[in-house]
Symmetry: C2
Subunit: 325 residues, 2 copies
Protein backbone atom coordinates (compact mmCIF):
# COMPACT_ATOMS: atom_id res chain seq x y z
CA UNK A 1 0.00 0.00 0.00
CA UNK A 2 1.23 3.46 -0.89
CA UNK A 3 1.72 5.53 2.25
CA UNK A 4 1.92 9.22 3.00
CA UNK A 5 5.70 8.77 3.34
CA UNK A 6 5.92 7.56 -0.25
CA UNK A 7 3.99 10.61 -1.37
CA UNK A 8 6.29 12.92 0.62
CA UNK A 9 9.35 11.27 -0.90
CA UNK A 10 7.98 11.42 -4.45
CA UNK A 11 7.04 15.09 -4.01
CA UNK A 12 10.32 15.96 -2.30
CA UNK A 13 8.56 17.51 0.69
CA UNK A 14 8.07 16.59 4.34
CA UNK A 15 5.36 14.27 5.62
CA UNK A 16 3.97 17.22 7.56
CA UNK A 17 3.51 19.14 4.31
CA UNK A 18 1.62 16.26 2.69
CA UNK A 19 -0.50 16.08 5.81
CA UNK A 20 -1.28 19.78 5.59
CA UNK A 21 -2.37 19.36 1.97
CA UNK A 22 -4.53 16.36 2.82
CA UNK A 23 -6.15 18.03 5.78
CA UNK A 24 -6.41 21.42 4.16
CA UNK A 25 -5.05 23.13 7.24
CA UNK A 26 -1.94 25.24 7.63
CA UNK A 27 -0.33 27.24 4.86
CA UNK A 28 0.98 25.42 1.80
CA UNK A 29 2.19 27.38 -1.24
CA UNK A 30 0.49 26.70 -4.58
CA UNK A 31 3.61 25.15 -6.13
CA UNK A 32 4.16 22.81 -3.22
CA UNK A 33 0.52 21.85 -3.27
CA UNK A 34 0.74 20.98 -6.96
CA UNK A 35 3.83 18.85 -6.29
CA UNK A 36 1.98 16.90 -3.63
CA UNK A 37 -1.08 16.43 -5.82
CA UNK A 38 1.11 15.26 -8.70
CA UNK A 39 2.86 12.78 -6.43
CA UNK A 40 -0.50 11.47 -5.22
CA UNK A 41 -1.65 11.03 -8.81
CA UNK A 42 1.65 9.42 -9.96
CA UNK A 43 1.60 6.87 -7.16
CA UNK A 44 -2.14 6.19 -7.54
CA UNK A 45 -2.38 7.04 -3.90
CA UNK A 46 -5.94 6.61 -2.64
CA UNK A 47 -6.92 9.50 -0.40
CA UNK A 48 -9.94 7.55 0.86
CA UNK A 49 -7.60 5.29 2.76
CA UNK A 50 -5.90 8.23 4.34
CA UNK A 51 -9.16 9.80 5.19
CA UNK A 52 -10.29 6.72 7.04
CA UNK A 53 -7.29 5.03 8.44
CA UNK A 54 -4.54 7.58 8.86
CA UNK A 55 -6.28 10.79 9.72
CA UNK A 56 -9.82 9.77 10.56
CA UNK A 57 -10.84 12.74 8.54
CA UNK A 58 -14.55 12.65 7.96
CA UNK A 59 -16.08 13.03 4.55
CA UNK A 60 -16.55 16.65 3.65
CA UNK A 61 -19.25 16.11 1.08
CA UNK A 62 -22.67 17.67 1.30
CA UNK A 63 -25.51 16.68 -1.03
CA UNK A 64 -27.65 19.36 -2.65
CA UNK A 65 -30.93 18.34 -4.27
CA UNK A 66 -32.63 20.89 -6.51
CA UNK A 67 -35.70 20.58 -8.71
CA UNK A 68 -33.94 21.99 -11.80
CA UNK A 69 -30.90 24.24 -12.06
CA UNK A 70 -32.12 25.62 -15.40
CA UNK A 71 -34.99 27.39 -13.64
CA UNK A 72 -33.36 30.82 -13.09
CA UNK A 73 -34.33 30.96 -9.41
CA UNK A 74 -32.11 28.03 -8.46
CA UNK A 75 -28.61 29.03 -9.61
CA UNK A 76 -28.64 31.88 -7.06
CA UNK A 77 -29.81 29.49 -4.36
CA UNK A 78 -27.14 26.95 -5.33
CA UNK A 79 -24.37 29.56 -5.33
CA UNK A 80 -25.38 30.66 -1.84
CA UNK A 81 -25.14 27.07 -0.61
CA UNK A 82 -21.88 26.41 -2.45
CA UNK A 83 -20.08 29.57 -1.37
CA UNK A 84 -20.90 28.90 2.27
CA UNK A 85 -20.04 25.18 2.35
CA UNK A 86 -16.88 25.93 0.40
CA UNK A 87 -15.83 28.54 2.96
CA UNK A 88 -16.15 25.92 5.67
CA UNK A 89 -14.14 23.31 3.77
CA UNK A 90 -17.04 21.21 2.51
CA UNK A 91 -17.88 20.31 -1.08
CA UNK A 92 -21.16 19.88 -2.95
CA UNK A 93 -22.61 16.87 -4.69
CA UNK A 94 -25.33 18.19 -6.97
CA UNK A 95 -28.53 16.53 -8.10
CA UNK A 96 -31.52 17.81 -10.07
CA UNK A 97 -34.61 15.78 -9.25
CA UNK A 98 -37.01 17.26 -11.84
CA UNK A 99 -39.63 16.71 -9.12
CA UNK A 100 -39.39 13.00 -9.89
CA UNK A 101 -39.59 10.83 -6.77
CA UNK A 102 -37.62 8.00 -8.34
CA UNK A 103 -34.83 10.34 -9.43
CA UNK A 104 -34.73 11.87 -5.96
CA UNK A 105 -34.41 8.42 -4.43
CA UNK A 106 -31.55 7.64 -6.84
CA UNK A 107 -29.69 10.76 -5.85
CA UNK A 108 -30.14 10.21 -2.14
CA UNK A 109 -28.82 6.69 -2.55
CA UNK A 110 -25.71 8.02 -4.27
CA UNK A 111 -25.30 10.65 -1.60
CA UNK A 112 -25.38 7.93 1.05
CA UNK A 113 -22.97 5.78 -0.93
CA UNK A 114 -20.57 8.68 -1.19
CA UNK A 115 -20.77 9.19 2.52
CA UNK A 116 -22.22 12.69 2.58
CA UNK A 117 -22.28 14.22 6.05
CA UNK A 118 -25.46 16.18 5.42
CA UNK A 119 -27.98 17.20 2.84
CA UNK A 120 -29.80 20.31 1.64
CA UNK A 121 -33.02 19.57 -0.22
CA UNK A 122 -35.08 22.05 -2.20
CA UNK A 123 -37.41 19.49 -3.74
CA UNK A 124 -41.15 19.11 -3.33
CA UNK A 125 -41.18 15.39 -2.85
CA UNK A 126 -39.75 14.95 0.66
CA UNK A 127 -40.36 11.31 1.54
CA UNK A 128 -40.64 11.41 5.33
CA UNK A 129 -40.12 7.73 5.84
CA UNK A 130 -36.87 7.77 3.92
CA UNK A 131 -35.56 11.12 5.15
CA UNK A 132 -36.15 10.07 8.75
CA UNK A 133 -34.45 6.75 8.26
CA UNK A 134 -31.31 8.27 6.82
CA UNK A 135 -30.46 9.93 10.12
CA UNK A 136 -28.37 12.48 8.30
CA UNK A 137 -28.46 16.16 9.16
CA UNK A 138 -30.91 17.63 6.67
CA UNK A 139 -32.05 21.16 5.89
CA UNK A 140 -35.01 21.93 3.65
CA UNK A 141 -34.44 24.96 1.47
CA UNK A 142 -37.21 27.07 -0.04
CA UNK A 143 -39.72 24.75 1.66
CA UNK A 144 -40.74 24.23 5.23
CA UNK A 145 -42.45 21.54 7.29
CA UNK A 146 -42.59 21.18 11.04
CA UNK A 147 -40.60 17.97 10.83
CA UNK A 148 -37.28 19.23 9.53
CA UNK A 149 -34.94 22.18 9.91
CA UNK A 150 -35.67 24.62 7.11
CA UNK A 151 -34.78 27.94 5.53
CA UNK A 152 -37.42 29.66 3.44
CA UNK A 153 -38.89 33.05 2.74
CA UNK A 154 -42.27 34.30 3.81
CA UNK A 155 -44.45 33.28 0.84
CA UNK A 156 -47.75 34.13 2.52
CA UNK A 157 -46.56 37.66 3.21
CA UNK A 158 -45.10 37.84 -0.32
CA UNK A 159 -48.46 37.00 -1.84
CA UNK A 160 -50.21 39.56 0.40
CA UNK A 161 -47.68 42.20 -0.55
CA UNK A 162 -48.08 41.53 -4.29
CA UNK A 163 -51.87 41.85 -4.04
CA UNK A 164 -51.70 44.88 -1.74
CA UNK A 165 -49.41 46.68 -4.18
CA UNK A 166 -51.71 46.01 -7.12
CA UNK A 167 -54.78 47.08 -5.11
CA UNK A 168 -53.22 50.33 -3.94
CA UNK A 169 -52.30 51.23 -7.49
CA UNK A 170 -55.93 51.26 -8.56
CA UNK A 171 -56.38 47.99 -10.45
CA UNK A 172 -60.02 47.09 -11.25
CA UNK A 173 -59.83 43.80 -13.20
CA UNK A 174 -57.21 41.71 -11.50
CA UNK A 175 -56.09 38.28 -12.67
CA UNK A 176 -54.35 36.20 -10.03
CA UNK A 177 -52.19 33.41 -11.43
CA UNK A 178 -51.98 30.27 -9.33
CA UNK A 179 -48.68 28.38 -9.54
CA UNK A 180 -48.23 24.58 -9.72
CA UNK A 181 -50.28 22.73 -7.09
CA UNK A 182 -47.40 20.52 -5.89
CA UNK A 183 -45.04 23.44 -5.26
CA UNK A 184 -45.69 24.51 -1.70
CA UNK A 185 -44.14 28.00 -1.88
CA UNK A 186 -46.32 28.70 -4.94
CA UNK A 187 -49.39 27.78 -2.92
CA UNK A 188 -48.31 29.94 0.04
CA UNK A 189 -48.01 33.04 -2.10
CA UNK A 190 -51.29 32.22 -3.82
CA UNK A 191 -53.02 31.97 -0.45
CA UNK A 192 -51.53 35.26 0.71
CA UNK A 193 -52.65 37.07 -2.42
CA UNK A 194 -56.08 35.43 -2.25
CA UNK A 195 -56.55 36.55 1.38
CA UNK A 196 -55.68 40.12 0.54
CA UNK A 197 -57.92 40.25 -2.54
CA UNK A 198 -60.80 38.66 -0.63
CA UNK A 199 -60.56 41.33 2.06
CA UNK A 200 -60.82 44.09 -0.56
CA UNK A 201 -63.95 45.19 -2.44
CA UNK A 202 -62.74 44.11 -5.81
CA UNK A 203 -63.53 41.59 -8.56
CA UNK A 204 -60.83 39.25 -9.67
CA UNK A 205 -60.22 36.08 -11.66
CA UNK A 206 -58.00 33.14 -10.86
CA UNK A 207 -55.94 31.58 -13.63
CA UNK A 208 -54.41 28.15 -12.90
CA UNK A 209 -51.02 27.04 -14.18
CA UNK A 210 -49.08 23.85 -13.60
CA UNK A 211 -45.43 24.54 -14.34
CA UNK A 212 -42.82 27.28 -14.47
CA UNK A 213 -41.25 26.38 -17.81
CA UNK A 214 -40.44 29.05 -20.39
CA UNK A 215 -42.51 27.38 -23.09
CA UNK A 216 -45.60 26.96 -20.95
CA UNK A 217 -45.32 30.55 -19.68
CA UNK A 218 -45.71 31.90 -23.20
CA UNK A 219 -48.86 29.93 -23.93
CA UNK A 220 -50.43 30.83 -20.56
CA UNK A 221 -49.85 34.48 -21.22
CA UNK A 222 -51.77 34.17 -24.50
CA UNK A 223 -54.57 32.20 -22.88
CA UNK A 224 -54.84 34.67 -20.00
CA UNK A 225 -55.58 37.65 -22.25
CA UNK A 226 -57.94 35.58 -24.40
CA UNK A 227 -59.96 34.46 -21.38
CA UNK A 228 -59.80 37.75 -19.51
CA UNK A 229 -59.32 40.49 -22.11
CA UNK A 230 -60.27 43.24 -19.61
CA UNK A 231 -57.44 42.37 -17.23
CA UNK A 232 -55.73 45.54 -16.03
CA UNK A 233 -53.43 43.91 -13.48
CA UNK A 234 -51.74 40.51 -13.31
CA UNK A 235 -50.29 38.96 -10.17
CA UNK A 236 -47.95 36.46 -11.83
CA UNK A 237 -46.98 33.13 -10.29
CA UNK A 238 -43.31 33.97 -10.71
CA UNK A 239 -41.01 36.26 -12.70
CA UNK A 240 -40.66 34.00 -15.74
CA UNK A 241 -44.41 33.91 -16.09
CA UNK A 242 -44.60 37.65 -15.33
CA UNK A 243 -42.16 38.46 -18.13
CA UNK A 244 -44.14 36.25 -20.54
CA UNK A 245 -47.33 38.12 -19.59
CA UNK A 246 -45.56 41.45 -20.11
CA UNK A 247 -44.39 40.35 -23.53
CA UNK A 248 -47.88 39.20 -24.56
CA UNK A 249 -49.48 42.44 -23.30
CA UNK A 250 -47.04 44.52 -25.38
CA UNK A 251 -47.77 42.36 -28.44
CA UNK A 252 -51.45 43.16 -28.00
CA UNK A 253 -50.63 46.86 -28.05
CA UNK A 254 -51.32 47.44 -24.36
CA UNK A 255 -49.40 50.18 -22.57
CA UNK A 256 -47.49 49.14 -19.46
CA UNK A 257 -48.30 50.13 -16.73
CA UNK A 258 -51.14 52.41 -17.96
CA UNK A 259 -53.35 49.67 -19.41
CA UNK A 260 -51.98 46.64 -17.61
CA UNK A 261 -49.91 46.41 -14.44
CA UNK A 262 -47.85 43.30 -13.77
CA UNK A 263 -46.11 42.10 -10.64
CA UNK A 264 -43.79 39.08 -10.63
CA UNK A 265 -42.32 36.94 -7.88
CA UNK A 266 -38.72 35.97 -6.95
CA UNK A 267 -36.66 38.86 -8.36
CA UNK A 268 -34.50 36.74 -10.64
CA UNK A 269 -31.66 38.74 -12.25
CA UNK A 270 -33.57 38.88 -15.56
CA UNK A 271 -36.25 41.21 -14.07
CA UNK A 272 -34.14 44.29 -14.50
CA UNK A 273 -33.41 43.31 -18.11
CA UNK A 274 -37.05 43.12 -19.19
CA UNK A 275 -38.49 46.25 -20.76
CA UNK A 276 -40.26 47.81 -19.03
CA UNK A 277 -38.37 46.35 -16.07
CA UNK A 278 -40.56 44.01 -14.02
CA UNK A 279 -41.84 45.01 -10.58
CA UNK A 280 -41.70 42.01 -8.30
CA UNK A 281 -41.57 40.51 -4.82
CA UNK A 282 -37.99 39.73 -3.95
CA UNK A 283 -36.95 36.46 -2.32
CA UNK A 284 -33.35 36.67 -1.06
CA UNK A 285 -32.32 33.50 -2.94
CA UNK A 286 -28.56 33.74 -2.45
CA UNK A 287 -28.99 34.53 1.25
CA UNK A 288 -31.44 31.64 1.67
CA UNK A 289 -28.86 29.27 0.20
CA UNK A 290 -26.15 30.68 2.43
CA UNK A 291 -28.21 30.37 5.59
CA UNK A 292 -29.32 26.83 4.73
CA UNK A 293 -25.66 25.84 4.41
CA UNK A 294 -24.79 27.59 7.69
CA UNK A 295 -27.63 25.83 9.48
CA UNK A 296 -26.64 22.45 8.05
CA UNK A 297 -23.02 22.89 9.12
CA UNK A 298 -24.15 23.79 12.65
CA UNK A 299 -26.22 20.60 12.71
CA UNK A 300 -23.31 18.53 11.39
CA UNK A 301 -21.13 19.99 14.14
CA UNK A 302 -23.84 19.23 16.68
CA UNK A 303 -23.89 22.79 17.98
CA UNK A 304 -26.35 23.66 20.73
CA UNK A 305 -29.18 26.18 20.67
CA UNK A 306 -29.46 26.20 16.93
CA UNK A 307 -32.50 27.95 15.48
CA UNK A 308 -33.84 25.28 13.16
CA UNK A 309 -36.52 27.24 11.36
CA UNK A 310 -35.34 30.33 9.58
CA UNK A 311 -37.85 32.48 7.75
CA UNK A 312 -36.38 35.30 5.70
CA UNK A 313 -38.40 38.39 4.79
CA UNK A 314 -39.57 39.23 1.28
CA UNK A 315 -39.57 42.70 -0.17
CA UNK A 316 -41.38 44.72 -2.82
CA UNK A 317 -39.13 45.82 -5.67
CA UNK A 318 -40.90 48.54 -7.63
CA UNK A 319 -39.73 48.84 -11.19
CA UNK A 320 -41.72 49.95 -14.23
CA UNK A 321 -44.62 47.50 -14.62
CA UNK A 322 -46.57 48.99 -11.72
CA UNK A 323 -47.87 52.57 -11.54
CA UNK A 324 -45.97 55.19 -9.63
CA UNK A 325 -48.83 56.86 -7.71
Amino acid sequence: MVTIKDVAKEAGVSVATVSRVLNENGYVGADTRKKVMKAMANLHYSPNEVARSLYKRESRLIGLLLPDITNPFFPQLARGVEDEVNKEGYRLLLGNSDEDVQKELDYIQTFVQNNVVGMVSATNTVDHELYNALQLPLVLLDRTTEDYPSVYSDGREGGRLAAKTILEKGARHITLMKGPAHVKPAQDRYKGAMEMLSEAEVDFSVFSTYSYSFEDATSWAKELFTKYPDTDAVIASNDIVGIAVLHEALKRGKRIPEDVQIIGYDDIPQCSLSYPALSTIRQPAYEMGRQAAQLLIKLIRKENDVDKTIQLPVQLVERSTTRKE
Copy 2:
Protein backbone atom coordinates in the same frame (compact mmCIF):
# COMPACT_ATOMS: atom_id res chain seq x y z
CA MET B 1 -16.97 -4.09 10.98
CA VAL B 2 -20.52 -4.02 9.68
CA THR B 3 -20.89 -6.32 6.67
CA ILE B 4 -23.33 -6.62 3.84
CA LYS B 5 -24.83 -9.63 5.67
CA ASP B 6 -25.68 -7.43 8.63
CA VAL B 7 -27.37 -4.98 6.32
CA ALA B 8 -29.35 -7.78 4.64
CA LYS B 9 -30.44 -9.11 8.03
CA GLU B 10 -31.42 -5.67 9.35
CA ALA B 11 -33.39 -4.94 6.16
CA GLY B 12 -34.98 -8.39 6.07
CA VAL B 13 -33.83 -9.01 2.51
CA SER B 14 -31.27 -11.25 0.82
CA VAL B 15 -27.60 -10.40 0.44
CA ALA B 16 -28.13 -10.43 -3.31
CA THR B 17 -30.73 -7.69 -2.96
CA VAL B 18 -28.40 -5.49 -0.92
CA SER B 19 -25.75 -6.11 -3.54
CA ARG B 20 -28.11 -5.04 -6.30
CA VAL B 21 -28.86 -1.82 -4.43
CA LEU B 22 -25.19 -1.12 -3.83
CA ASN B 23 -24.19 -1.81 -7.40
CA GLU B 24 -27.23 -0.17 -8.91
CA ASN B 25 -27.82 -3.09 -11.22
CA GLY B 26 -30.82 -5.37 -11.54
CA TYR B 27 -34.33 -4.45 -10.56
CA VAL B 28 -35.08 -3.51 -6.95
CA GLY B 29 -38.50 -2.10 -6.02
CA ALA B 30 -38.61 1.33 -4.40
CA ASP B 31 -39.83 -0.01 -1.05
CA THR B 32 -37.10 -2.63 -0.87
CA ARG B 33 -34.51 -0.09 -1.82
CA LYS B 34 -35.67 2.20 0.98
CA LYS B 35 -35.46 -0.69 3.46
CA VAL B 36 -31.88 -1.38 2.42
CA MET B 37 -30.91 2.27 2.61
CA LYS B 38 -32.50 2.56 6.05
CA ALA B 39 -30.61 -0.49 7.23
CA MET B 40 -27.35 0.96 5.92
CA ALA B 41 -28.04 4.20 7.77
CA ASN B 42 -29.12 2.46 11.01
CA LEU B 43 -25.98 0.35 11.13
CA HIS B 44 -23.71 3.21 10.12
CA TYR B 45 -22.57 0.97 7.36
CA SER B 46 -19.83 2.65 5.33
CA PRO B 47 -20.41 2.06 1.63
CA ASN B 48 -16.86 3.19 0.85
CA GLU B 49 -15.57 -0.02 2.34
CA VAL B 50 -17.92 -2.04 0.22
CA ALA B 51 -16.99 -0.11 -2.81
CA ARG B 52 -13.35 -0.92 -2.34
CA SER B 53 -13.05 -4.22 -0.65
CA LEU B 54 -16.16 -6.22 -1.36
CA TYR B 55 -17.16 -5.24 -4.84
CA LYS B 56 -14.13 -3.43 -6.20
CA ARG B 57 -16.61 -0.97 -7.50
CA GLU B 58 -14.79 2.11 -8.69
CA SER B 59 -15.80 5.58 -7.67
CA ARG B 60 -18.58 6.89 -9.84
CA LEU B 61 -17.92 10.54 -9.21
CA ILE B 62 -17.17 13.00 -11.95
CA GLY B 63 -16.01 16.55 -11.20
CA LEU B 64 -17.56 19.48 -13.08
CA LEU B 65 -15.83 22.85 -12.93
CA LEU B 66 -17.80 25.86 -14.17
CA PRO B 67 -16.95 29.56 -14.11
CA ASP B 68 -20.28 30.55 -12.51
CA ILE B 69 -23.61 28.75 -12.53
CA THR B 70 -25.49 32.05 -12.11
CA ASN B 71 -24.47 33.08 -15.64
CA PRO B 72 -27.56 31.86 -17.58
CA PHE B 73 -25.49 30.05 -20.20
CA PHE B 74 -24.10 27.52 -17.73
CA PRO B 75 -27.17 25.87 -16.17
CA GLN B 76 -28.06 24.40 -19.59
CA LEU B 77 -24.52 23.18 -20.04
CA ALA B 78 -24.52 21.67 -16.54
CA ARG B 79 -27.86 19.93 -17.09
CA GLY B 80 -26.54 18.37 -20.29
CA VAL B 81 -23.53 17.00 -18.41
CA GLU B 82 -25.59 15.86 -15.45
CA ASP B 83 -28.33 14.11 -17.42
CA GLU B 84 -25.77 12.15 -19.40
CA VAL B 85 -23.50 11.11 -16.51
CA ASN B 86 -26.58 10.25 -14.49
CA LYS B 87 -27.86 7.98 -17.26
CA GLU B 88 -24.56 6.10 -17.17
CA GLY B 89 -24.58 5.70 -13.40
CA TYR B 90 -22.12 8.45 -12.53
CA ARG B 91 -22.64 11.44 -10.24
CA LEU B 92 -21.47 15.06 -10.35
CA LEU B 93 -19.32 16.99 -7.94
CA LEU B 94 -19.88 20.65 -8.76
CA GLY B 95 -17.50 23.57 -8.42
CA ASN B 96 -17.74 27.20 -9.53
CA SER B 97 -14.29 28.67 -10.00
CA ASP B 98 -15.26 32.30 -10.62
CA GLU B 99 -12.27 32.28 -12.99
CA ASP B 100 -10.05 32.29 -9.91
CA VAL B 101 -6.97 30.05 -10.30
CA GLN B 102 -6.67 29.47 -6.57
CA LYS B 103 -10.31 28.43 -6.29
CA GLU B 104 -9.91 26.12 -9.27
CA LEU B 105 -6.90 24.50 -7.63
CA ASP B 106 -8.91 24.04 -4.43
CA TYR B 107 -11.71 22.30 -6.30
CA ILE B 108 -9.41 20.03 -8.24
CA GLN B 109 -7.74 19.04 -5.00
CA THR B 110 -11.11 18.09 -3.53
CA PHE B 111 -12.02 16.22 -6.66
CA VAL B 112 -8.81 14.19 -6.34
CA GLN B 113 -9.42 13.61 -2.65
CA ASN B 114 -12.89 12.34 -3.41
CA ASN B 115 -11.49 9.99 -5.98
CA VAL B 116 -13.24 11.32 -9.06
CA VAL B 117 -12.74 9.14 -12.13
CA GLY B 118 -12.79 12.06 -14.54
CA MET B 119 -13.35 15.75 -14.90
CA VAL B 120 -15.19 18.18 -17.17
CA SER B 121 -13.81 21.70 -17.05
CA ALA B 122 -15.39 24.79 -18.57
CA THR B 123 -13.04 27.28 -16.97
CA ASN B 124 -10.60 29.66 -18.63
CA THR B 125 -7.67 28.99 -16.38
CA VAL B 126 -6.51 25.51 -17.41
CA ASP B 127 -3.17 24.99 -15.68
CA HIS B 128 -1.40 22.60 -18.06
CA GLU B 129 1.24 21.52 -15.58
CA LEU B 130 -1.38 20.49 -13.06
CA TYR B 131 -3.93 19.02 -15.47
CA ASN B 132 -1.22 16.88 -17.10
CA ALA B 133 0.06 15.66 -13.77
CA LEU B 134 -3.36 14.55 -12.57
CA GLN B 135 -3.52 11.83 -15.21
CA LEU B 136 -7.28 11.82 -14.98
CA PRO B 137 -9.52 11.66 -18.02
CA LEU B 138 -10.41 15.29 -18.71
CA VAL B 139 -12.71 16.98 -21.19
CA LEU B 140 -12.71 20.71 -21.79
CA LEU B 141 -16.19 22.08 -22.35
CA ASP B 142 -16.96 25.33 -24.18
CA ARG B 143 -13.19 25.74 -24.72
CA THR B 144 -10.66 23.98 -26.85
CA THR B 145 -6.91 23.54 -26.96
CA GLU B 146 -4.87 21.04 -28.91
CA ASP B 147 -3.68 19.46 -25.69
CA TYR B 148 -6.94 18.05 -24.32
CA PRO B 149 -10.13 16.41 -25.51
CA SER B 150 -12.76 19.08 -25.90
CA VAL B 151 -16.34 19.84 -26.86
CA TYR B 152 -17.14 23.34 -28.04
CA SER B 153 -19.14 25.21 -30.63
CA ASP B 154 -17.77 27.02 -33.63
CA GLY B 155 -17.25 30.54 -32.24
CA ARG B 156 -15.38 31.85 -35.27
CA GLU B 157 -18.25 30.85 -37.53
CA GLY B 158 -20.73 32.24 -34.98
CA GLY B 159 -19.05 35.63 -35.06
CA ARG B 160 -18.98 35.59 -38.87
CA LEU B 161 -22.65 34.67 -38.98
CA ALA B 162 -23.64 37.47 -36.58
CA ALA B 163 -21.76 40.06 -38.64
CA LYS B 164 -23.02 38.65 -41.95
CA THR B 165 -26.62 38.84 -40.75
CA ILE B 166 -26.25 42.46 -39.66
CA LEU B 167 -24.51 43.40 -42.93
CA GLU B 168 -27.16 41.78 -45.11
CA LYS B 169 -29.89 43.65 -43.29
CA GLY B 170 -28.46 47.00 -44.35
CA ALA B 171 -26.72 48.30 -41.21
CA ARG B 172 -24.51 51.39 -41.78
CA HIS B 173 -23.13 52.28 -38.34
CA ILE B 174 -22.22 49.02 -36.70
CA THR B 175 -20.85 48.68 -33.18
CA LEU B 176 -19.07 45.40 -32.48
CA MET B 177 -18.81 44.55 -28.80
CA LYS B 178 -15.69 42.66 -27.76
CA GLY B 179 -16.14 40.23 -24.84
CA PRO B 180 -13.72 39.66 -21.95
CA ALA B 181 -10.12 39.18 -23.13
CA HIS B 182 -9.49 36.08 -20.97
CA VAL B 183 -12.56 34.21 -22.28
CA LYS B 184 -11.39 32.33 -25.36
CA PRO B 185 -14.82 31.66 -26.93
CA ALA B 186 -15.56 35.40 -26.65
CA GLN B 187 -12.37 36.15 -28.56
CA ASP B 188 -13.17 33.56 -31.23
CA ARG B 189 -16.54 35.08 -32.00
CA TYR B 190 -15.00 38.56 -31.93
CA LYS B 191 -12.40 37.48 -34.48
CA GLY B 192 -15.01 35.92 -36.72
CA ALA B 193 -17.16 39.05 -36.68
CA MET B 194 -14.11 41.25 -37.21
CA GLU B 195 -13.05 39.22 -40.25
CA MET B 196 -16.47 39.50 -41.82
CA LEU B 197 -16.76 43.25 -41.14
CA SER B 198 -13.26 43.86 -42.46
CA GLU B 199 -14.11 42.09 -45.72
CA ALA B 200 -17.13 44.34 -46.24
CA GLU B 201 -17.12 47.99 -47.32
CA VAL B 202 -18.52 49.35 -44.10
CA ASP B 203 -17.50 51.56 -41.19
CA PHE B 204 -17.73 50.13 -37.71
CA SER B 205 -16.64 50.77 -34.13
CA VAL B 206 -15.33 48.31 -31.56
CA PHE B 207 -16.52 48.58 -27.98
CA SER B 208 -14.50 46.67 -25.36
CA THR B 209 -16.04 44.97 -22.33
CA TYR B 210 -14.48 42.86 -19.64
CA SER B 211 -17.22 40.81 -18.01
CA TYR B 212 -20.64 39.29 -18.62
CA SER B 213 -22.31 40.35 -15.38
CA PHE B 214 -25.82 41.80 -15.37
CA GLU B 215 -24.76 44.98 -13.61
CA ASP B 216 -21.87 45.70 -15.96
CA ALA B 217 -24.04 44.96 -19.00
CA THR B 218 -26.39 47.82 -18.09
CA SER B 219 -23.64 50.39 -17.76
CA TRP B 220 -21.97 49.30 -21.00
CA ALA B 221 -25.22 49.68 -22.85
CA LYS B 222 -25.44 53.29 -21.63
CA GLU B 223 -21.83 54.00 -22.50
CA LEU B 224 -22.18 52.47 -25.94
CA PHE B 225 -24.96 54.83 -27.03
CA THR B 226 -23.19 57.82 -25.46
CA LYS B 227 -19.97 57.09 -27.33
CA TYR B 228 -21.59 56.01 -30.58
CA PRO B 229 -25.01 57.72 -30.76
CA ASP B 230 -25.36 56.95 -34.49
CA THR B 231 -25.14 53.20 -33.98
CA ASP B 232 -27.80 51.44 -36.05
CA ALA B 233 -26.66 47.87 -35.34
CA VAL B 234 -25.02 46.20 -32.36
CA ILE B 235 -23.26 42.84 -32.45
CA ALA B 236 -23.44 42.05 -28.73
CA SER B 237 -20.81 40.00 -26.90
CA ASN B 238 -23.54 37.69 -25.56
CA ASP B 239 -27.30 37.64 -24.95
CA ILE B 240 -27.23 39.24 -21.51
CA VAL B 241 -25.34 42.19 -22.94
CA GLY B 242 -27.61 42.17 -26.01
CA ILE B 243 -30.74 42.40 -23.86
CA ALA B 244 -29.19 45.27 -21.87
CA VAL B 245 -28.44 47.10 -25.14
CA LEU B 246 -32.01 46.49 -26.32
CA HIS B 247 -33.37 47.90 -23.06
CA GLU B 248 -31.18 51.01 -23.28
CA ALA B 249 -32.11 51.62 -26.93
CA LEU B 250 -35.83 51.48 -26.06
CA LYS B 251 -35.24 53.89 -23.17
CA ARG B 252 -33.70 56.33 -25.63
CA GLY B 253 -36.83 56.12 -27.78
CA LYS B 254 -35.24 54.16 -30.59
CA ARG B 255 -37.41 51.79 -32.61
CA ILE B 256 -36.26 48.18 -32.82
CA PRO B 257 -35.33 46.99 -35.43
CA GLU B 258 -36.06 50.11 -37.57
CA ASP B 259 -33.55 52.44 -35.85
CA VAL B 260 -31.27 49.92 -34.19
CA GLN B 261 -30.78 46.22 -34.93
CA ILE B 262 -29.29 43.97 -32.25
CA ILE B 263 -27.92 40.46 -32.41
CA GLY B 264 -26.94 38.49 -29.32
CA TYR B 265 -24.93 35.32 -28.77
CA ASP B 266 -25.71 32.01 -27.00
CA ASP B 267 -29.52 31.77 -27.25
CA ILE B 268 -30.14 31.56 -23.52
CA PRO B 269 -33.78 30.82 -22.67
CA GLN B 270 -34.38 34.47 -21.74
CA CYS B 271 -34.00 35.61 -25.39
CA SER B 272 -37.52 34.68 -26.31
CA LEU B 273 -38.82 36.55 -23.25
CA SER B 274 -37.27 39.89 -24.14
CA TYR B 275 -39.49 42.32 -26.05
CA PRO B 276 -38.91 42.55 -28.89
CA ALA B 277 -37.50 39.02 -28.73
CA LEU B 278 -33.74 38.96 -29.28
CA SER B 279 -32.25 37.62 -32.53
CA THR B 280 -29.12 35.67 -31.70
CA ILE B 281 -26.55 33.04 -32.62
CA ARG B 282 -27.45 29.79 -30.95
CA GLN B 283 -24.89 27.60 -29.19
CA PRO B 284 -26.36 24.16 -28.44
CA ALA B 285 -25.47 24.39 -24.73
CA TYR B 286 -27.38 21.37 -23.47
CA GLU B 287 -26.06 19.22 -26.32
CA MET B 288 -22.51 20.45 -25.68
CA GLY B 289 -22.81 19.35 -22.06
CA ARG B 290 -24.24 16.00 -23.06
CA GLN B 291 -21.51 15.29 -25.60
CA ALA B 292 -18.76 16.33 -23.20
CA ALA B 293 -20.11 13.81 -20.68
CA GLN B 294 -20.35 11.11 -23.35
CA LEU B 295 -16.78 11.76 -24.45
CA LEU B 296 -15.50 11.71 -20.88
CA ILE B 297 -17.24 8.41 -20.15
CA LYS B 298 -15.69 6.90 -23.29
CA LEU B 299 -12.27 8.04 -22.08
CA ILE B 300 -12.92 6.64 -18.59
CA ARG B 301 -13.86 3.32 -20.18
CA LYS B 302 -10.73 3.48 -22.34
CA GLU B 303 -12.70 2.94 -25.54
CA ASN B 304 -10.80 2.93 -28.81
CA ASP B 305 -11.19 5.25 -31.79
CA VAL B 306 -12.73 8.04 -29.79
CA ASP B 307 -13.04 11.38 -31.55
CA LYS B 308 -11.47 13.69 -28.99
CA THR B 309 -12.29 17.04 -30.51
CA ILE B 310 -15.95 17.69 -31.07
CA GLN B 311 -17.00 20.97 -32.63
CA LEU B 312 -20.74 21.58 -32.74
CA PRO B 313 -22.34 23.96 -35.24
CA VAL B 314 -23.92 27.29 -34.33
CA GLN B 315 -27.08 28.61 -35.87
CA LEU B 316 -28.79 31.93 -36.56
CA VAL B 317 -32.04 32.38 -34.65
CA GLU B 318 -33.97 35.26 -36.20
CA ARG B 319 -36.40 36.88 -33.84
CA SER B 320 -37.53 40.51 -33.76
CA THR B 321 -34.42 42.64 -33.16
CA THR B 322 -33.16 42.21 -36.74
CA ARG B 323 -35.00 43.36 -39.87
CA LYS B 324 -37.03 40.90 -41.90
CA GLU B 325 -35.82 41.81 -45.41
